[in-house]
Point group: D2
Chain length 385, copies 4
């Protein structure tokens, strides 16, 4: 287990802010063409962000506050880039808590090195057509069949962000044993039998390449079975892992909401209707509406940073709390953009302006598990025990 | 002034329902390509809808309840078609209240005949870049210059639904007199100097061709100055005209919300997540959410039909009331679709399904004047007098 | 079955408005002392309101629009009076639809005559400690034991508005048969064994005497068993009866909200803070808030009157619709008063002013069945069938 | 300036929790009789809380986290007690930041000693009939006239929590100079001419004795003019002072909401409707509603503790942030109790149960400045600069 620094590195945070601003210039085009932000990711690799994403001894990751600032700044500029980097943080951060002689250390180390060296991307592919999201339970239909020296994997995974651009597909599947094991198998780089169906066509986050990945009898050597167990051995993720997940996913959409807020401010300052004879910024009702947006973002910021700082201090809040964070930041981010949208009429709805894109993107915050209803029902049930 | 029947014609209402269902099949393609629904409108003309839209003696219009049912049924299928037909109702319905020897009778009659005969479209073009919407006050920048035998019109009008497909552009402008007159000049069919800038690129209602129309020294004969007055002679529209406007515009978006509701019901019945082992339709929380959508549509329906029936009985509610109707139906329609969207996760947000399109369309209900803030402020001020 | 006039009688409506205004002067005192409004009810009897409440041939009731106007005007002044009169409308209106040779005609006729002659009050007592509200199912614990010439009734009923002031207690109970019958037994005037426990101590509607009534072996002659059946023979109330119930109960709380609105307007006009240098009525934000209150009341009014008029025309809306009406008017009435309360700070919360009383009263709208959750769940389930 | 410990003292926090629980037993009676909680305050003095409220060298105050925990625990039991103690924290905490040779040190020291020794209460009386709240600007009408050896004070102050029980009245007034000074004069203990008008009769916080205090030519010696300046020298309170104020006032109502939540949980566990055949706690919809209440309280807790901890670390958030905290905690606390109220029907509204009292109390959170509209408008205006 590596001991990691928890002080955010100001240089990497600065760089994230600078790149976020630069990436924002291309964000409309990425949305329009639904092109995965490969150039942005290459630039992030050049600028050392993949080192920042990977824990020691390979990189420098460790501070959730730093990760939060990085993902937030990038997502404010271009959220598909922010999402992709957030996934790398999440996939590598378990190294922080992993013993060096744990069985999965070697594979994880190799993946981590490839990230630092080549900017190799990884994602865990979980969702299947039949399942809904697996968080809600159920065995995967994707099957790893035992063969000499390894496994043969067959199945299909939807909503696989980065599909076609991933160096490593970490696939949630089950074995063909009588008593099936479940867990994660990783396809080796360049494995044969991996295909992509370009099915992702959502209202927002259009450049995330969250397409379907197909596995047709893909050979996976024994040492690429990352972590497979009996179903009952899979406990809930621990509170630290959940905190990282919920903080970083939330940071993406909070970043989008901040971009919307900034555009709204510029709009209020710039727009001077003839019949008003002054900028909209002078209208009390609009000032109050902006104040409400600021209030929502203040709540987001306080929840995100106090949680991240607690994690960095070693006192991660319980899952109930971080689940509340996830829902609240999502709701507030949507509400903030929605408010701006409802007050800017034609200007906000026009695709000539970015606000409608921010809105389409921020609506996607809801599709990350857990959904509000699940969170609230679980919290209520817990309070009644 | 023609006396009109007020009993809805069941045949035309039936036909609207049938065509709405048919038009819905093509609605996604129209949205995708942002193509104006010319085929739908041609079909509407063939099926007698332009007669239904024009009052006697040229057609059979007169019942707002009938118009409401027609616009609602068509908009549920394809709202850009519904919007275009609603505009025709609104442009022709003043004939109901116009004296035969009024100065504008002849031009209006000619326009009405062209509608019945050729399905000729008309729209009043009001909005300019500099003005915001004119409802909020201010003189138009578009100028009609007096010349021999008529006028020369120069200016630009944005948000001009049907731009490029209108037989008649009815243009809100002012004269070049020292004490300028303001009002509506109509460009003759095929007039030279009329251009279109394809600037409409909104989140929703993409097939409405609400582009910019430019007028470059367009000659308008004297008898095409439809109604021009001193600015102070323009009173508020009367309560009957406002009722027609607010009821029919509201009917469009209520129709969209009903389409969303129908899809949501189908989704709940069809979708059977593995881990639930039954259709989503069996989940009490989702039943209750659907009940809330039904409640919103019940309010819409009651407001719309009781108002339309009152107008048909000759007792149109005051402007304050019909303005409330406009805001409430818009808010409820948006809320109904939003609720469905928030409960269907990836399925609702995917462009493979129509719900996100309904949502994009219904959000455009807000851009029709008057906006909620204006309505509420005016109503509050009135209550304090 | 009597044929009834459906045109509201302007004289009775005028009188209700006049008396509502007069009753408002004493409303704070009734609230403070939790005294049942016996004087108001006596005055209503003197002024002919008990005739207006009873259908022909005994009285003149028949128009739901008239009843709505009466209950609304009285409740705006003093809602406990309005509630008590609403109950009389509901208890007598079944006579409108009852055949003269129906078994219950004679008892109903006698009760009706006592209302017209003496202002005798009746209420149906349904709720028991153990049951929650019976609408949600379940047999009553109150038992009618067969004895010579009639029955002996024993049990306890809570939330019995008018307890101690009722001439007739109509009690929902079950027989002691092996296969118990259920239904309504009516205690004769002055019956022995009827007691009252002063348990009603709610936040609002404090003067309604909705106390507990106890029945200790009360003798009920055979002809006072109003309507008793096998449990499975009790169908849902018909849509006309539900419409009367939901419209009149809703009218009470809508009336309360209108009283709150009127006070809010006076407050805005009267209050001139030093630092504003003008009346609050000049503040745009407060005008807009008042506009929102007006909008809520507009929706209430439209739902109430269009429903009542439909009932009077013989086309009562389905139960789903009138249930929606009930929830919506309750929600809107609460929201309207809440909005005024949130904007008047210390003034609204002070018991020196009536607004907090209106709020306490209007919150009681929720305790009448059906509750929103039941309504929405049923409507959603119905839409999925 | 005294250096203060910032680690909360577990003993005092424990004691607050214990006393809060004990005080809750008497809270309904205090509410019913509107009696100021003198016994509770005496007990708090006996148990050392007045030492905890006063900074060194007289007491041990200094940690806002500790103060927050104390006020929260007491207010959960009996909020009028919590409010009174919060006021003492606020009135004494400036000593933390005051230089020992500041002109006001001696008087403050004397007041502080009297608190520690006798449990002497102080409050700053600001509000006047004519002014609205002074935060919104304007000179006080209460006048201090210069006389030999001091001043003569005349005026009236409303909303003076603890009126009649205060050892020290700190009165916001102005001098009778041509260029009036404004500031705070303190009436000596037992001063003649101080009267109380029992005018406080609010919906909630009924035992707070927030009555009117009258000053009729009260003599105030020179050394009791605590802090008087030219009007323009009164800057906004600094961010530390605002943070203390907003955190502690918010803690009161958050505490009330927690009491409501606890009762709601007990109600759900205890209540078993016949027709459900199980406790309400088993109903998913109610679990989800409780989850929402938990979520609101989670947000409150995170905002309150992260702000208090920041203040204790010497990095108090800006006024905009702590104003947001104030509004948000107030809104969330009201919403949490309202939700419980709306789901418990008759049980929640009955004065036999505490929920309606919690609701009446929590509504009073809105009357503390600043109101939401002011906060949002200021924040919006600031964001536009």
């Amino acid at each position: 287990m590596s001991s990691a620094r928890i002080e955010p590195d100001p240089a990497i945070v600065e760089a994230a802010i600078e790149l976020g601003a630069r990436f924002s210039l291309d964000a409309a085009a990425l949305d329009e063409t639904a092109r995965f932000p490969v150039d942005n990711l290459a630039e992030l690799h050049r600028r050392g962000f993949f080192r920042a994403v990977v824990p020691p001894p390979f990189g420098s990751a460790g501070s959730l506050v730093e990760a939060l600032k990085v993902v937030s700044a990038l997502s404010k500029g271009e959220p598909n880039t922010g999402l992709t980097l957030a996934l790398q943080y999440l996939l590598h951060s378990p190294l922080l808590r992993l013993d060096r002689d744990a069985p999965s250390w070697r594979l994880r180390a190799r993946i981590a090195e490839s990230a630092v060296e080549d900017g190799a991307l990884i994602n865990v592919l979980r969702v299947e057509h039949e399942l809904g999201t697996p968080v809600r339970g159920g065995l995967p239909a994707t099957i790893a069949r035992r063969v000499t020296g390894g496994w043969r994997l067959t199945g299909r995974k939807i909503y696989s962000t980065g599909a076609g651009y991933l160096a490593w597909n970490a696939v949630w599947a089950r074995s063909d044993d009588d008593a099936p094991l479940v867990g994660v198998w990783v396809t080796p780089r360049g494995a044969e039998g991996v295909g992509v169906v370009k099915s992702w066509n959502h209202l927002g986050m259009r450049a995330s390449a969250s397409d379907e990945v197909t596995f047709d009898d893909v050979f996976i050597p024994d040492d690429h079975a990352l972590d497979i167990r009996r179903p009952e051995e899979w406990a809930q993720p621990d509170s630290v892992e959940l905190a990282w997940t919920f903080v970083l996913f939330s940071a993406i959409y909070d970043g989008v909401a901040r971009a919307a807020r900034d555009w709204f401010i510029e709009f209020l300052k710039r727009r001077k209707p003839t019949n008003l004879g002054a900028a909209l910024a002078t209208v009390p009702r609009l000032q109050e509406a902006l104040g409400e947006i600021e209030r929502l973002l203040y709540i987001n910021e306080t929840l995100l940073f106090s949680t991240a700082a607690a994690v960095d201090r070693g006192v991660a809040p319980a899952a109930t709390q971080t689940s509340f964070l996830k829902c609240t930041v999502a709701d507030n981010s949507i509400a903030a953009v929605e408010k701006a949208l409802s007050l800017t009429g034609n200007h906000g709805l026009s695709r000539h302006n970015p606000l409608q894109r921010h809105y389409r993107d921020v609506l996607c915050s809801r599709i990350h598990s857990p959904q509000s209803d699940t969170v609230l029902a679980a919290a209520g049930a817990a309070a009644l025990r």
